[in-house]
């Protein structure tokens, strides 16, 4: 059994493949299989991948006859994966050569951790690499699980996930286009998360585009968050309140006006979620004060919208 199965779907990203594939093959930790799923690219991706596979027998190429999308492609890869850990990789990104080594070391010494992400740096539009962290992702499990209420606190292509846990929850779903946030919200009931402070991946997405893209993603974030909150509380929750919380978090609330009643309901909803998360053990007992502080700040933001 190999230690790691690397899953990398790709669609018409030929120009980036050399760098992404090599960044995996050159890893200092070498015990892995590299499953690349070509999602019916119309460029010469498949020829390139087959050439690579001949040169390195750790590579296995799957080729979809029709374009299936990221979630289905990942599930196909997952169905043949044999590794103890699943490492995600995107075809336009670049892993640092010691990425797997760092992650394996952490996961082997932290058996409670099921999902491990890392910090990233951006690759700019002109191809140059930034040396500043792209996002400051939360390190602690509690903060990650809490931030999942309104954001994606793990960067998908940086993650390494315990295979058995991923398998047990049935892999990816195709319900939401933000398949990663959806996956984390389902895993949150079963395992704990961490992010390494180290930057171990270059992420191709410049700042301005990132901002525009984010606004388009907000409705999807709201949908996933809504279902997350309803599963935590085991009851129906007014979608309007989730919208309010997420708008506030992304600084969009200034454009809208809210009734005091909804603001109070939204802040009480956050408090109810916090109490329930504690009750069902989604939050670790240590470091609760960090989440309390965030809750306090969020309440402050929400109440400040009161005229």
């Amino acid at each position: 059994m190999t230690a790691i199965s690397v899953l990398m779907p790709t669609y018409n990203q030929l120009e980036y493949l050399t760098e992404s594939v090599n960044s995996v093959l050159n890893q200092t930790f070498s015990d892995f299989e590299f499953i690349i799923i070509d999602d019916c690219s119309t460029d010469k991706t498949i020829e390139y991948l087959e050439r690579c596979a001949k040169l390195d027998k750790r590579i296995r190429v799957l080729s979809n006859n029709i374009n299936l999308g990221v979630s289905n492609s990942l599930n196909l890869g997952l169905s043949i994966a044999t590794g103890k850990y699943i490492a995600r990789m995107d075809a336009d990104d670049i892993s640092f050569i010691n990425r797997f080594e760092y992650q394996i070391n952490y996961l082997n010494t932290h058996p409670g951790c099921g999902v491990l992400g890392t910090e990233t740096c951006f690759i700019n539009l002109d191809g140059s690499k930034s040396d500043q962290p792209a996002w400051i992702k939360p390190i602690e499990h509690n903060v990650i699980v809490w931030n999942l209420l309104y954001s994606t606190p793990l960067c998908h292509p940086t993650t390494m996930i315990r295979h058995d846990i991923l398998k047990n929850i049935g892999g990816y779903t195709t319900t939401h286009p933000n398949e990663d946030m959806d996956l984390w919200t389902r895993l949150a009931f079963h395992t704990s998360f961490n992010n390494l402070e180290n930057t171990l991946l270059y992420y191709r997405m410049p700042h301005d585009v990132h901002r525009k893209k984010l606004e388009a993603w907000i409705p999807h974030i709201q949908n996933v968050s809504h279902s997350y909150v309803e599963r935590i509380l085991e009851k129906n929750v007014d979608f309007k309140l989730i919208q309010l919380i997420i708008d506030t978090n992304f600084g969009l609330s200034a454009k809208r006006s809210y009734e005091a009643k909804d603001l109070f309901q939204a802040s009480l909803l956050l408090e109810e979620v916090y109490e329930k998360m504690k009750l069902i053990g989604m939050l670790e007992k240590k470091n609760l004060s960090q989440v309390e502080k965030i809750l306090y700040k969020q309440t402050q933001l929400i109440v400040s919208l009161m005229s």
């Binding site: 009734e259 109070f264 802040s267 408090e271 309390e292 306090y296 309440t299 402050q300």
Partner: protein
Amino acid sequence: MTPQISIITTTFNDARHIGEAIESILSQSFEDFEYIIVNDNSQDETKDIINKYARTDRRIIPLSNERNLGRAASRNRALQISQSEWIAIFDGDDISDPLRLEKQSAFINEYPNVDYFGSDCCYENKVTLDPISKEFILHTSHETISWELYWNYPFHHSSTMGRKKILIEAGGYPETYPVCEDIYLWMQLAKMGARFANIPEKLIKYRVNPAPNHYALNQILAQKLHCQHVEYLIGEKIPPDVFEIIWSTNYSESFPTDKYILSINNIFDASQILVKSFEKISSNINMTRNEREKIQTNFLLRLRRVLNLISTVNCDDGVKYQSIYSGYLNTYNTLHIEG
């Protein structure tokens, strides 16, 4: 005959305490009252307990909400049907001293210009019923209560009495508020010019919930309301971070004030707002010397606590730090000598 006092209790899922609370009212030495108890759609035996007492004492008027309306709307419902000129508020988990109503009724006769007043209280842990000692400085005059209302809670809500007329004029309790509905009402009353007082006697036993519901919203909303009240006084906007620094002066020990709001500028602005408010209030010529001194002592205590925060700030600009600090020490010393 219309009773002299209408007592209002609203209760939700508190079967453990409601019986004792009701008994403490029924055994009052002062007997001329009606007692309106609103059961806010409790899911436990609260309703049966209320009905049991209602059968034996006709002064009890039980009301029952078909769905949970919250404390504000429940009290308003009782307020609407109450008959007396005076309303006494009493929470379903507290205990009234047997002489509470007698003393409060005598107070009304002695001070006919007062519109709304409370009393001191003793504290008990709601779960363990152990006594709790809590430092609470009770302000008794209208002026000092009005000053305290800018920064903190000047009343124990469960001990208060008010004229029905003025409570109705104020619009009762704000029904959208899940918490802090009492503070909101007090501020409305203050703006309407109601006369406040407190009786310096422990007339109720107040049960403190060790794990309070809605803690975050309660804290934040209380701050927001107080902040708006001060903004109304001094006629300028106050950033929430600055007000949080002033709010922290309610606590003698460390307060979960985030480090980032503790900048030299925020501390400076917070002290400025205290000074402006004090100047505004102390320009009132109708105050007695005693009231003025009490307000000044309270002001100086808060100012000192704000200034003490300077020592927790890392300040690169040593000159600015020095000048602000020494400037305020001077203000402080001058006032202190005058006081």
